[in-house]
């Protein structure tokens, strides 16, 4: 671990080069197909293959498993660039697939890593996870593991909703929600084709069309020892590290989308005229733009500070929660403010901002709400035990 003398947020040469590649891909390849990609599965899959071939899906994976061995700062900058164009694709590829990769990399056995990581880097195997349901303790999500009586292994039952990338994932990192028996493994890697696995996609998606969000359910799904991820003892360390990574990736998506909103807001305010002048000349509009820009700048600084902490392998759980809470809130606020600038055109399908705003609202609650993070932050500061 390289310890730097001072906080240093500029990207290095190599990081810059990767970011530029992603920027080019996002603007040349992804932007033109962004609207259709949520409706067209072939288009979606082609896009993922293209991303994989450019190394976008394997930033964090070491060379030995076919990745490009980048650090978290690089990963965050890549996520931001993709989210700037498509929040849904960023959620599916980084917050689902990417987090599953990180989970396997950090907690998987050698055979598991060798089996999954190279294929996941190539985009031939896609990953997802059920983290989304863990902290909210949803009444409809209730995955439980129990020992199988007949074979040596476990039986999974229950369901997890709002699973990102459920439509496309080949392998799921599934966490138990039963807290009764702490001797049981806490998570499993489960193949989509396994008997007893069912994936339901919503009939009418309310938002985040290309994120592949769906419901994952298990009906007496049998899993064996080789499929367990981590051990029972590692339970809390594993949960805290994987969910923290998830939170940081989500934050990068949020800030990317906030930036996208600001850009369309600025562009529109310069073009649109009312009462004889471009509306960017009015204080009411300028205020919205100035505030949004300030908020993004501050949030991004903290995001990269968190990335820096992660790369140095210093505990970052607290920072991850802070940035997740702050960035989700500012994303919704900025999307709404930029929508405000667009006036009636904001909800015309022709302009991006209505789509951005809808997706921002939906995305903000993924991985836990503001409310939950406020509560957790207070518990941390006050040194109170979690319930």
């Amino acid at each position: 671990v390289k310890i730097r003398e001072s906080i240093h947020y500029e990207l290095g040469e190599e990081q810059r080069a990767i970011k530029d590649t992603v920027q080019r891909f996002a603007s040349i390849y992804l932007r033109p197909i962004n609207r259709e990609i949520g409706e067209d599965k072939t288009l979606w899959q082609d896009c993922i293959r293209e991303m994989a071939s450019l190394g976008i899906l394997s930033v964090r994976i070491p060379h030995e498993y076919g990745g490009i061995g980048g650090d978290y700062i690089t990963q965050i900058s890549v996520i931001e660039e993709i989210a700037l164009v498509s929040i849904s694709i960023a959620l599916a590829t980084f917050c689902a697939h990417g987090v599953a990769q990180d989970a396997i990399l950090k907690w998987g056995t050698k055979p598991q890593k060798e089996l999954y990581l190279p294929l996941m880097c190539k985009g031939e195997t896609l990953g997802a996870h059920t983290l989304n349901n863990l902290w909210e303790r949803s009444e409809t999500a209730n995955i439980k593991f129990e020992r199988s009586e007949h074979k040596t292994g476990w039986l999974l039952n229950g369901r997890s909703n709002a699973v990102l990338n459920a439509s496309f994932a080949d392998v799921f990192v599934v966490f138990s929600q039963g807290k009764e028996d702490t001797n049981l493994p806490f998570a499993f890697l489960i193949d989509r084709k396994r008997q007893g696995v069912k994936i339901d996609e919503p009939k009418a998606k309310p938002a985040l069309y290309a994120s592949g969000m769906g419901t994952l359910s298990f009906d007496d799904c049998f899993v064996n020892k080789e499929e367990a991820l981590g051990t029972a003892k590692e339970r809390s360390a594993m949960l805290s590290s994987i969910s923290s990574i998830f939170r940081v990736y989500l934050s990068a998506v949020y800030i990317g989308l906030a930036q996208a909103c600001l850009q369309v807001g600025v562009d529109y305010s310069k073009k649109r005229e009312a009462f004889g002048r471009a509306i960017c000349n009015y204080q009411a509009i300028q205020g919205l733009i100035a505030d949004s820009s300030m908020e993004i700048e501050l949030a991004r600084t903290f995001l990269y500070r968190t990335g820096d902490t992660m790369s140095k392998e210093i505990p970052f759980e607290g920072q991850a929660m802070t940035i997740k809470r702050y960035s989700s809130e500012l994303m919704v606020r900025i999307a709404e403010n930029m929508f405000q600038i667009h006036g009636g055109y904001g909800f015309s399908d022709e302009f991006a901002i209505g789509h951005y705003m809808r997706d921002a609202a939906a995305a903000s609650i993924i991985g836990g709400t503001l409310m939950l993070y406020r509560e957790k932050a207070a518990q941390n500061i006050l040194g109170l035990a979690e319930e």
Binding site: A204, P206, G276, Y282, A284, G344, D349, I365, T369, M371
Partner: protein
């Protein structure tokens, strides 16, 4: 001595409110509302029931077959019906608030006899053509013209965001009829026309939107559309005064709908937190949840006060520009806060199709546009400030 303040609805008004609530409960299934929004269709199958209820004639004078109720009664319908049949409200808005008000107040006897009974029977619908590509908030920067021709007029221009025009028999079009007089004052020289949608030269194109799918809005293009003299509402060149009144009513009407939707979202969230347990505690008993719900309840009640004060003033034919700006500015914000507050309470259960709170996302895209239409919220605030004697800032 002035009458004392009275915040209560009358017995009949309370009965009406119950009747609409019952209607929503019986006929407006959640699942159907979701499908309709997704498929972007107006639930025509339900419209007939609105007509049966005689709500289509609610504010129309008795002599034309209506019930001659006041604007307050219409607000009661708007508030309650928004909880299940939002697009019906939009139609009542075009047909009653605009068409009935404009024709009934300023139209000639022939127009009244022709149109008002048809509105009562739900057999005629109107679309609105005021906004143009050049401006909705800046409505007076319009370009559409109507030139006198053979005793009638020829209309040319493009109208944007024409609510329900694709389902209308007539459009109410705002056009310039006297260019010269507008040089001194932009509110002069404007006229309103009742233009049949089957006129030659008139095309209606649906504008795809994010949200508001059941209502639908359109772009209307007019190329040498000919109308007779009888198409003019009231006197030529006097339309701004007529329309400004209707626009005030519209704002209060939308504010009532926002109050209704906000209350529905709050109810859904309350039902949810009463049942939901987190670590053996009922979620509804947690302080954070109670703080959000307490605040939203205050906000809903205070915006309702503004809405019904506005309704009361309109019913007494008082000037309603400032109250309408206040009511909508407040109610639109409250509805947004109720929605986002609710999302923050329910978390990822928002994505559970079997729960009522699944609708929060759909409602978000119904209430959020009210921050920008009709007229951007900035405009409402500036209008209020101007009324306090501050100079015009735009």
């Amino acid at each position: 001595m002035r009458a004392k303040m009275d915040f209560e609805l009358s017995k009949r008004q309370i009965e009406l409110r119950e009747e609409v609530r019952q209607f929503v409960h019986e006929h407006c299934a959640r699942q159907r509302a979701r499908e309709a929004e997704h498929a972007k269709e107006f639930r025509e199958e339900l419209w007939g029931r609105i007509v049966e209820k005689e709500w289509t004639g609610l504010t129309i004078p008795k002599e034309y077959g209506g019930k001659e109720e006041s604007f307050v009664e219409l607000l009661i319908i708007f508030e309650e019906l928004s909880k299940g049949f939002f697009e019906a409200n939009a139609r009542l808005m075009t047909d009653l608030v605009f068409a009935n008000h404009l024709i009934g107040t300023y139209g000639n006897e022939e127009q009244k006899r022709k149109f008002l009974p048809l509105i009562v029977h739900g057999n005629i619908h109107f679309g609105l053509g005021f906004t143009e590509p050049s401006g909705g908030t800046d409505l007076l920067s319009l370009l559409t013209t109507a030139f006198p021709d053979n005793g009638g007029y020829i209309l040319n221009g493009t109208k944007m965001f024409c609510t329900l025009a694709h389902k209308a028999d007539y459009l109410i079009i705002l056009a310039i009829t006297d260019k010269e007089s507008r040089v001194t004052k932009k509110t002069k020289g404007l006229s309103l026309f009742l233009v049949p949608t089957n006129c030659e030269g008139l095309t209606i194109k649906r504008i795809e939107t994010v949200g508001w799918g059941t209502i639908g809005t359109t772009e209307v293009h007019m190329e040498d559309v000919k109308v007779g003299r009888e198409a003019v509402i009231g006197e030529a060149n006097m339309a701004w005064g007529y329309l400004a009144e209707s626009l005030n009513y519209e704002r209060v009407g939308f504010a009532a709908m926002m109050v209704g939707i906000a209350e529905m979202m709050l109810d859904d969230v309350i039902q949810y937190v009463k049942k939901k347990k987190v670590a053996n505690n009922v979620l509804g008993q947690s302080q954070i949840v109670q703080q959000i719900i307490g605040q939203i309840t205050i906000d809903i009640e205070s915006s309702r006060m503004l809405v019904y004060k506005g309704g009361h003033m309109i019913a007494r034919e008082e000037r309603a520009d400032v109250i309408s700006a206040m009511a909508l500015s407040c109610a639109a914000r409250v509805a947004r806060d109720a929605c986002v507050g609710g999302m923050n309470i329910v978390g990822e259960d928002l994505f559970c199709e079997e729960l009522n709170i699944y609708d929060l996302m759909r409602h978000y895209m119904i209430v959020k546009p009210l921050a920008v239409v009709p007229f951007a919220n900035e405009m409402r605030l500036m209008h209020i400030a101007e009324s306090l004697g501050l100079g015009r800032s735009y």
